[in-house]
Amino acid sequence: MKVRIKFRKYGVMRFIGHLDVMRYFQKAIRRAEIPIAFTTGYSPHMIMSFAQPLGVGVTSDGEYFDIEITKPISSENAVAQLNAVMVEGIEVISFREISSDKKASGMTIVAAADYKVTFPETFRHAEEIRVLPESWKGKVESFMAQPEIVVLKKTKRSEKEVDIKPMIYKMAALDDGIYLYLATGSEQNLKPDLVAEAFLKFAGEDPEETPVHIHRIDVYAKNPDAEEGKTEFISLDGLGKDIL
């Protein structure tokens, strides 16, 4: 049976990198005695795949990984067993069965993610957030009103100019930050820090001198049940159902 696990990452755990979070869950699953399936072969390892790595320093309310289990366990019990062995800063939110159909499983389905970008008072403490300056609020609208938003995208090998506007599905000013809904995944991927940087430049601020904190809200897939020709997103755990 395929299962999708959703968790939250907050507090000091934001300093633990993606690979170490994977290692953390490999051990946590053993501590919680979740009946996880292993690959066969000489050195078996857990069948486990993570969605969309989260950068160091970023917090999240919607992190996901899929596993396979060998015998059924109720969602309620699994979540309780996992949370009993968690450290402060990671909380398991759901444990739901997903269809073994390729369209619903595997992390290639990731298509979008949304974020809240905040602007802390100093680089020192991400928690001390300042109110969004009034002047920035209007700038969010005019930023998105541009015909194109060209930024320099750096990869390991090259730098190239890209128009990121089509990958910003939504951008809105909040009282204490900016809301972003971005294309994410293997087809198209836009990082929130890149948008924040472009916006700060647009607003006449120096991105190097402006503290930014990023919080991921959730990760989405295209809804397979959407009407023909219509793109609709659904949260990754929305594709699963609770195991009773």
Partner: protein
């Protein structure tokens, strides 16, 4: 939410912030208001190394079982953070509470190798604790040292208030109780040190005076305080099975060197290799009950979620229930995807069988540590391994499909001749020859015999404590002789040779047997910027040589003399149970290349039988 000692800006700038944030699974949080003693336990090296140390895990667990004590951990900040802490004047802090070390009651430092000595000064310095014990007041923690290097604590004597001699499980409770008692009645720091000095196994360096002869050797070493004992007795746990052991070891977020459950199966070693300090220090050999170990295996795998379990001891093959234990671990845990990692076992039919079950033969290699190339040299060091054992074991392994062998040797052993050095490549070649005896169609390609040599360092409390060492140049020329001889071997294409650096060897030699005067060099080297000297990319020999020059300390005095049998050693005031008479007798046997049987074959009267336990009473049960 916990408040961290380091701000986000720093944590996002440095390498591996997980080293400094605590919060790990099984780390212990307490209310500081509800404990009477705050204990900071330190391993003076980077987090990933320190977190791999079993001794600290044992003591951390033991201290935290007490309601009145909160034991926390602290490690050396890596060089990136070190620099930031100095620039921004951030005091060194403990991982759990993130509180400054300076506010603790105790700072306990485990001293595992000589090349961490500058890191000890770093920890004191960054904590804002005066480096010299003499300059400390009640505003500073009591700084206590333990671990193998404390069997010659003298190079570090002036930096520590106390040293704990021996196994930590025995008198720490008493020491903490005395501390509480003294605190309650408002006693002075000195009064506490005097009370501590009365406890068996506790050494207070300030309470002893050393005088030197004109030639620089020790004339006298005497207590200067009525509370100090003439001799400090090593502490030893006689009931290993009942001794405290951590059922819930701390699990790091980042990969530590030792990322697995460690089961300590026994302490001590019956073998009596004459170069080996651990083999003398941890006598007598004491085993843990196999049923208790099985229970620990269950509990520790469950509490940590580790995917690997390993056995720990000086010589696992000598554990009497090894077969039963290993079979149990394989049967019970292998199907759950748990890796069973076997410590270096003696190669025989049994070990090859279990190794075949738990590892991929094509990828794994066999390890032999003959330590010396010729039989004569092996008799000198009392390593009871013969050519027949090695060729026989390797042969069985080759027949079973292995084709990689690792060999470990030492150069610079007492009485070593060129013939002994040349015997190393000859032995490697003999092993390769045995491999190529297998018909071509039956063997698995070429074999790969990798030989490594390190340079021998005489250690206190070994039969070789009187031996001389050599200069850096001499060591390199010995390695060159071996290298040259490798090129002359028939199967040279299947043989690889590596040797260790000699610069570090020379320094380790000085501090292993150094006296109080050598502390000046450590301070000067630290002042010149030496840190993380056990890391080859950080080690700076030029600075160390500068430190010797600046302090006028002569390396030759410590390393190049064979010491007379009547010389007073800096560590003579410690009683490890093994008598000096026995060590002398062993030194004489070594000079005559005579072998001494192991403890199970015959008792040689080393002195530890007085504790009436372990291997000393095995045959009498």
């Amino acid at each position: 939410m916990r408040k961290l000692a380091l701000n986000d800006e720093i944590l996002l700038k440095i390498e591996k912030p997980a080293r400094y944030i605590g919060n790990e699974v099984n780390s212990v949080m307490k209310d500081p208001e509800k404990v009477s003693i705050r204990f900071a336990m330190c391993f003076p090296d980077v987090y990933e190394i320190g977190m791999s140390h079993l001794g600290i895990q044992i003591l951390y667990d033991m201290f935290n079982r007490r309601d009145d004590v909160w034991c926390e951990r602290v490690y050396s900040p890596w060089t990136d953070l070190d620099q930031i802490m100095r620039e921004q004047k951030i005091p060194l802090f403990a991982l759990e509470s993130q509180d400054p070390i300076k506010d603790f009651d105790f700072l306990g430092i485990t001293i595992q190798y000589e090349m961490c000595y500058t890191n000890i000064l770093q920890v004191l310095d960054l904590s804002g604790i005066p480096m010299q014990a003499a300059d400390r007041t009640w505003d500073d923690p009591i700084v206590i040292g333990g671990g193998p290097c404390t069997y010659n604590p003298e190079p570090l004597a002036e930096f520590f208030d106390l040293f704990y001699m021996g196994e930590g499980e025995t008198v720490y409770d008493e020491l903490l109780n005395v501390y509480k008692e003294n605190k309650k009645r408002g006693g002075t720091r000195k009064e506490f040190l005097e009370m501590a000095a009365e406890i068996e196994g506790i050494y207070v360096p300030a309470f002893y005076d050393v005088t030197y002869k004109e030639d620089g050797t020790i004339e006298s070493f005497r207590p200067n305080n009525p509370h100090a004992k003439e001799k400090i007795k090593k502490q030893v746990v006689m009931d290993m099975t009942g001794a405290t052991y951590p059922e819930k070891p701390v699990v790091p977020f980042i990969k530590a060197t030792q990322d697995r459950v460690v089961l300590e199966i026994q302490r001590g070693c019956i073998r009596g290799c004459r170069f080996c300090q651990a083999g003398m220090l941890y006598r007598p050999t004491r085993e843990k009950d196999v049923e208790v170990l099985k229970e620990y295996a269950y509990k520790m795998l469950k509490s940590t979620g580790h995917e690997e379990i390993s056995l720990s001891s000086l010589s696992s093959s000598d554990y009497s229930h090894l077969r039963e234990l290993v079979t149990f671990l394989i049967d019970e845990f292998k199907s759950q995807g748990i890796n069973i990692s076997l410590p270096s076992l003696r190669i025989d039919a049994f070990s090859l069988d279990v190794m075949g079950q738990v590892q991929d033969i094509r990828k794994s290699s066999l390890t032999f540590a003959p330590e010396a190339g010729s039989q004569r040299m092996r008799n000198v060091i009392n390593k009871g391994l013969t050519v027949e054992d090695i060729i026989g074991g390797a042969g069985q392994a080759f027949d079973g499909g292995w084709n990689k062998v690792k060999l470990y040797f030492m150069l610079g052993l007492p009485t070593e001749t060129e013939e002994d050095m040349r015997a190393i490549p000859e032995l490697a070649d003999q092993i390769a020859r045995r491999y190529y005896e297998i018909p071509k169609e039956q063997r698995n390609g070429k074999c790969q015999i990798t030989t490594s040599t390190s340079f021998f360092i005489p250690k206190p409390f070994t039969p070789f404590q009187w031996a001389r060492m050599y200069t850096n140049e001499e060591y390199i020329s010995r390695a060159a002789i071996v290298k040259h001889a490798f090129n002359e071997q028939l199967n040279r294409k299947s043989l690889k040779y590596h040797w260790h650096d000699a610069e570090v060897t020379v320094l380790e030699g000085v501090f292993a047997r150094g006296d109080r005067k050598t502390s000046e060099v450590i301070k000067e080297a630290y002042r010149l910027g030496c840190l993380y000297d056990s890391w080859s990319d950080q080690f700076d020999n030029d600075k160390w040589m500068q430190a010797f020059e600046n302090t006028g300390i002569d390396i030759a005095f410590y390393n190049l003399r064979e010491r007379p049998l009547d010389e007073v050693f800096p560590w003579d005031f410690i009683d490890i149970g093994v008598t000096k008479e026995f060590l002398k007798q062993e030194w004489n046997h070594a000079m005559n290349a005579e072998v001494t049987p192991n403890c199970r074959m015959k008792c040689s009267g080393c002195g530890v039988a007085k504790w009436k336990g372990g291997v000393c009473i095995e045959s009498k049960n």
